[in-house]
Symmetry: C2
Subunit: 468 residues, 2 copies
């Protein structure tokens, strides 16, 4: 099967042997990174479990048609598999569409689930800022018909807990509602056909000043300057309950059915968030639009704030680290009869957070342990390999995390150096004397203190010493 | 972009709406299956960590050329991605080749790592027997130049521990060495060009009687009946140290350099396995050949035995659940200068084991919990939603796994039923009386016993109650 030579890959090729690299926009996780990621994902999953979510898993591969028509323009970023006979397949783009497919396929109308897994996007990678073509998503979603805003409020509480737990510094969670946004556009005289494209311009307000946004609206999107100005009066607003009350009294907006519904729910949401004690980090922000088509109600996005010189004025957003919202129509797109299952969910942007943690660990000089070994089984003299093998076997069988060097006769120095390099806290040393006494010398690697322990009590003593 | 209609997928399609299915040979894991899998993988990973392995992760996508030329005939089972511009990509077929690529790329000559992740094979699925196109592999490998047979023995100890821990019933670990097998073929007069194809015939001895194997050797592979008989005398042998000693004295085999090396190492391996106390489940089996090209030394495979009517004679192999061996040449295939890194490793066949566990749980009627929720926050009267939200927020912030119903005014019966359905052991009930007394009624769902607990001590009391 001959193929044309690959375009992009070629430049990085070699004349001889294999090209030694991972695909563009992907990376290996060596042990230190894998350990950090385990720590990070552990913290996120702990939060999801704290909120009673069950895990599910779906395949990385989906039928191509399952993904098509769900991502708007972003469909071009979907990886497709070669037609090797059989079904047309693609790699999942996110975890939300497969979740909706799963619900419709199994006629599930009520579930709270989390899913931590890799997704794939043929995007332009920016790996230093944590943007990859293969990356993890951590999703928590609540599906089902419930009383308004209760699941939505819990999603925001989860974002608040995760970002607080990870101690990433100050953050802000922006909240809006697609119904309010659509209501604003309607009362500003924008035709419905221009809602989506106008929203994508509004979404830029967190990065560029209003004047530029207005220019784009008028120049590129064909709005009148007056309409743009009317929009500008709304979308530059952000605040809390006061703002919601003010807009509920707004002569124009209060006449729009959708906006009124959205504002009523936003008020309820803020009441619940007040009871959770987290409104201090929540901002009702009318410029928040979010890219994806499928949102139908509340939308939100969390950004980290970089505090410089303790001036609150200098807070600069360094990017979104979580986002989500309500999508009540997506499951219905998969159901043959169009039956809807209301859903709300949140996705944690784990790669950006991981980049931050990685840099922080590097800066702190912290030595990350990559293994959990509790004890190295060592011998001080030669010809004691059998003794080491017997002892380590006893420890493994007793559930102790133990290693030994794969050498017949290593020096004690080499063995102790291995402990220091790998951060192994204890060494169980067994020599001629210990063998005949029926004991093992247990050495604390840091303090170098050695104590003889009866062999049958060794596992318990190791456990006792390493209790947290 | 028009495409021809997919062949295989078509029959399962619908006239209207999306095809609601996962790709052929893949499956979703609903909460019960995800929970069982977490239990299973947890046990396997615990063993890998007990042996001091670090985690690594590599991408699901690899450059096509990284995978090519490593899997012999099985290369046709590799999933390839469409050429969408850029590099030619494929989905990984196993975790071993990416591991070797990782070692060569980073010039790592010494590591003990585990990797639990999905791999992809366009094989004929047999999902009832746990054979999928997307499935998990759990690999443990030791790379580095060490004293002979020490890492190899640890790999076998790991298989023994995992299969014992999982209580899958009786099992047998077959061991052989590629050098012994090649030596046998050489002394039986087989030309080296026929080694691999003859091996693949020998490998069938665990499923069909010798006569059939012989017929294939003579009829299909073109060996003389005499040569086949000579091979038959060897490959039907299995045993322990005695057999090794016997073959070391074998007039023909002892003259073959490779076989002698292999037998010497096999003897050493059995000495180590004796010290580990596991030879009872190890069989030196000259018919074990293993499919993959890259093995160079010790090879092994674990099979579960089904014991019928307590007759040891009736033991029937129900398939391989773990396998591995030594592959000293694979990393060198990636190194521009061909530098070798000796490696030995084991892969746990988690899908088959998972099928068995799933069936066993089904048969036992065990109700698998899919969440870890410790307490449901409940109210006995109406208009107490605020009290529930405040209390649950306190519990979450104290690290308690807590849920509430997403209803403003659910009945107490509904709330308690939810506890029973989901296996939630406790309910924290807060009503008018409790609010004014500053207490919470903590109910044991199983016994229905209720005790008033001061609100500030609730989290601690819940933790105390649920201590293992």
């Amino acid at each position: 099967m001959l193929r044309p030579p690959p375009g992009q890959g070629q430049g990085q090729g070699r004349a001889v042997g294999s090209v030694l690299k991972t695909p563009k926009g992907t990376r290996d996780h060596p042990p230190v990174q894998a350990a950090l990621r385990e720590r990070l994902l552990g913290s996120v999953v702990a939060c999801f479990k704290r909120h009673g979510a069950a895990a599910i898993d779906t395949p990385v591969l989906e039928l191509r048609e399952t993904l098509m028509g769900k991502y708007g323009d972003n469909a071009k970023l979907i990886y497709e598999l070669q037609d090797q006979g059989g079904e047309m397949l693609a790699l999942r783009y996110d975890l939300t569409v497969p979740f909706a497919r799963y619900l419709a396929m199994n006629k599930i109308t009520n579930i709270k689930r989390y899913h931590v897994a890799k997704v794939y996007r043929r995007d332009n990678p920016a790996t230093t800022r944590g943007r990859y073509r293969e990356f993890y998503q951590c999703d928590f979603d609540i599906a089902g018909q419930f009383d308004p805003m209760l699941p939505d409020a819990e999603c925001l509480k989860i974002v608040h807990e995760i970002l607080s737990d990870l101690q990433l510094g100050d953050f802000l969670i922006k909240v809006n509602d697609r119904r309010i946004l659509n209501g604003v556009l309607a009362v500003c005289g924008i035709p419905e056909s221009k809602f989506i494209t106008t929203c994508s311009t509004i979404d830029k307000l967190d990065k560029v000043p209003w004047e530029e946004v207005k220019n784009e609206m008028v120049g590129e999107k064909g709005l009148s300057p007056e309409a743009a100005d009317r929009i500008g009066e709304y979308v530059q607003l952000h605040g809390g309950l006061d703002l919601i009350e003010q807009l509920l009294q707004d002569p124009k907006l209060s006449q729009n059915k959708l906006a009124k519904e959205g504002l009523g729910d936003m008020k309820l949401l803020f009441e619940y968030l007040t009871l959770f004690g987290i409104t201090g980090k929540i901002s009702f922000d009318l410029s928040l639009a979010r890219g994806l088509d499928y949102y139908t109600g509340v939308i939100f996005e969390a950004v980290l704030l970089q505090q410089e010189n303790d001036h609150v004025e200098d807070l600069v957003g360094i990017g979104s680290v979580a986002g989500g919202g309500r999508y009540d129509g997506l499951v219905g797109m998969f159901d043959p009869k169009g039956r809807k299952v209301p859903c709300v969910g949140v996705s944690i942007g784990i790669e950006r957070i991981f980049s931050i943690l990685e840099q922080r660990v590097k800066a702190s000089g912290e030595k990350v342990r990559t293994t959990e070994t509790q004890v190295l089984v060592a011998t001080p003299q030669k010809r004691l390999l059998s003794a080491r093998l017997k002892l380590i076997s006893e420890l493994w069988d007793a559930g102790i995390k133990a290693e030994m060097l794969y050498k017949k006769d290593p020096t004690l120095l080499k063995q102790l150096q291995y402990c220091e390099n790998m951060g192994i806290p204890l060494a169980a040393i067994i020599g001629e004397q210990e063998l005949s006494d029926g004991v093992v010398k247990l050495r604390d690697v840091a303090t170098r203190v050695e104590v003889d322990i009866p062999r049958e009590g060794l596992a318990d003593e190791i456990r006792r010493r390493l209790e947290p």
